[in-house]
Subunit: 365 residues, 2 copies
């Protein structure tokens, strides 16, 4: 069969340095496990703006569409903030990728590693053993709805508009992914919106309820207003198994959940499209953390989130569950051994650089 | 001069029982401080739906417009969930009040009481002494934007739409309130939006920046993406003094901040309109917590948030700073004395009912 095709988009800030550690794992797979990847590399975000004047070139998008999976580092940074042209911001590159690859289901695990319980600002007993999966809708809602923009309305006044819109099928397809994942886990799904204030949220609630009755009545379903969700996550996070929510609430709530774990530098994510005739999904994998411009280029960043994203890539895009588990185990063992990058450093542990963390994980492998 | 006019809207669930404690403070003001309030009472939310078929009668709205201030308990409950007519949900009553009284600035303090540090799921050192004020825009954004609704789009598909819209003057007036409050506090303001994804957020950022340069350059201003805000609140809440944000982000972020304090039952809020020719603002005061239908009518609810909301009412609507402080101090003393309603109960403390908590606070007064 043809080699597995990966597109690497390291992006901005710490993106390139954490992605370098994934390269090393790919070399290892080639040498020791006899699995060869064809890796193409491209630019996205600020890096692409600097090189080509746009955050995502058509050629890069074509590469992404042709690849079996995309590995992304991070995009954005102060250098490209407040641009005069709204289409020329780093984030627009990432948003086009999501939209054009139709990656409607964003899987964001919020997991607390036993070795890192103390890194959280939450009390240990509240979060120890936490394992939540947030499924965020990623190609709809206010991120992409039209009309949108800023217009002059006279008298020195301007008006900014965005549109929150969801259709039945957009809601059903992401809810289906969430129900299916819940079945493989704790069999419990919480759906979050503001049905008490927004009609789009009411439609969301109705469609999730309908799908539940039709196909997933074995899964426990609960609806929760998103503001209450933000509270319940803090109050008793372990009440949750899988959470499904829209693009904007998902952005906020998954970041809240991520920070609750105390180890943002450890959290991977997967963005999946619809299965094609062969059951293959387009997919993009990226760490939950951002581009961290303040520490970029200094070999300080934590590569674990990106490595764990690659583990998700092996599992979801290439059916390589064994290798995914090996990589996850390697990361865990290195943590248990006391190795820590700056972001998760704690008293009594050994502080290490991005590269040394990579070395140790490869040694474990 | 005419008596001070108050409209009481106890609403649903625990609303009536916590508002009863405010009545007692009003009696005390009358007897001991020689300040008389004319109190009118009305129905809102589910209670109004049951009595009149609508969540807010025109007469009640007229009473609210005629009053110097409105004290509200809480609205909503499972009994009125999933109504077939979207205008007939309890929340619509509260939303009309906000809109018709033009209460664009919602002040939500997130304060940690020394006596209650341990009630939080966050570590004590992270939140001890926390004192944040969130200023949430309350009459614009996706809560009120048009077009909105659910439409049939054929093939069994429906489409739900809401519109996020902000104008220059809507942004400036709420930002002005926030800047002014920051000046009286720690002189630091964080403004939160998703300018990297939404044009309405970009306009928000630009207008806040402009107002800052024009009139408030002595206040330290920082912009933060709302998802990062959700994380930073958890990571290091004490970095914040005042936060200004839009209606929807404010809903989520203020609930997150409230739950961080661990004592939702303690948190008041004020919703203020624009000052009229005499400097008077329309105003509504309500606890941050909801109607808690599960414990309604059982004399279990914590009345402190509502009493502290009344303290805000005395301060902002009636310039009675001395009495406001007395009431706040009374609440604090009772807490320090070890009295606790169920929601904030802790080992070694004395558990009490709503009424007994009220008794104790009145005794302190
Ligand atoms: C970078 C930004 C556009 C993006 C988003 O808002 O979706 C990020 O916050 C995320 O959550 O992936
Ligand atoms: C009850 C509901 C309409 C309301 C809101 O969403 O604003 C509540 O959550 C609040 O924060 O006051």
């Amino acid at each position: 069969p043809a080699n597995k095709k990966l597109l690497f988009l390291p992006g901005d800030g710490i993106g390139p340095e954490v992605m370098r550690q994934v390269r090393r794992v790919i070399d290892w797979l080639d040498r020791k496990r006899n699995v060869t990847f064809d890796v193409t590399e491209g630019l996205v975000g600020g890096a692409a703006i600097d090189a080509y004047g746009v955050p995502l070139k058509d050629e890069t998008l074509a590469d992404a569409l042709a690849a079996d999976a995309v590995m992304l580092g991070a995009v954005g940074g102060p250098k490209w903030d407040n641009p005069t042209d709204y289409t020329k911001r780093p984030e627009a590159g990432l948003l086009s990728l999501r939209k054009e690859l139709n990656l409607f289901a964003n899987l964001r695990p919020a997991v607390v590693f036993d070795a890192l319980v103390d890194a959280s600002t939450l009390k240990a007993d509240v979060i120890k053993g936490l394992d939540i999966l947030i499924v965020r809708e990623l190609t709809g809602g206010v991120y992409f709805g039209e009309p949108r923009g800023i217009t002059d309305i006279g008298n020195g006044e301007r008006r900014g508009v965005n549109t929150q819109v969801y259709t039945t099928s957009e809601i059903r397809r992401v809810a289906r992914v969430a129900f299916e994942l819940a079945r493989k886990r704790g069999n419990k799904l919480h759906s979050m919106e503001k049905a008490n204030v927004m009609e789009s949220g009411l439609l969301w609630r109705q469609e999730v309820t309908k799908l539940h009755q039709e196909e997933f009545s074995d899964v426990t379903l609960e609806h929760m207003y998103a503001d209450n969700g933000a509270m319940q996550l803090l109050k008793n996070p372990k009440q949750f198994d899988v959470i499904v929510t829209d693009n904007l609430f998902g952005d906020i709530l998954s970041d809240e959940a991520a920070m609750m774990t105390g180890s943002l530098g450890m959290l991977p994510s997967a963005s999946l499209g619809a299965p094609d005739a062969n059951g293959q999904r387009k997919a993009l994998y990226e760490p939950v953390h951002g581009s961290a411009p303040d520490i970029a280029g200094r070999d300080l960043a934590n590569p674990c989130a990106t490595l764990l994203s690659f583990a998700m890539c092996l599992r979801y895009s290439f059916n390589m569950d064994e290798e995914a588990k090996m990589l996850e185990k390697a990361v865990q063992n290195v943590l248990s051994g006391g190795m820590r990058t700056a972001d998760i450093m704690a008293p009594g542990m050994a502080r290490c650089s991005t590269t040394v963390m990579g070395d140790s994980i490869l040694r474990e492998l």
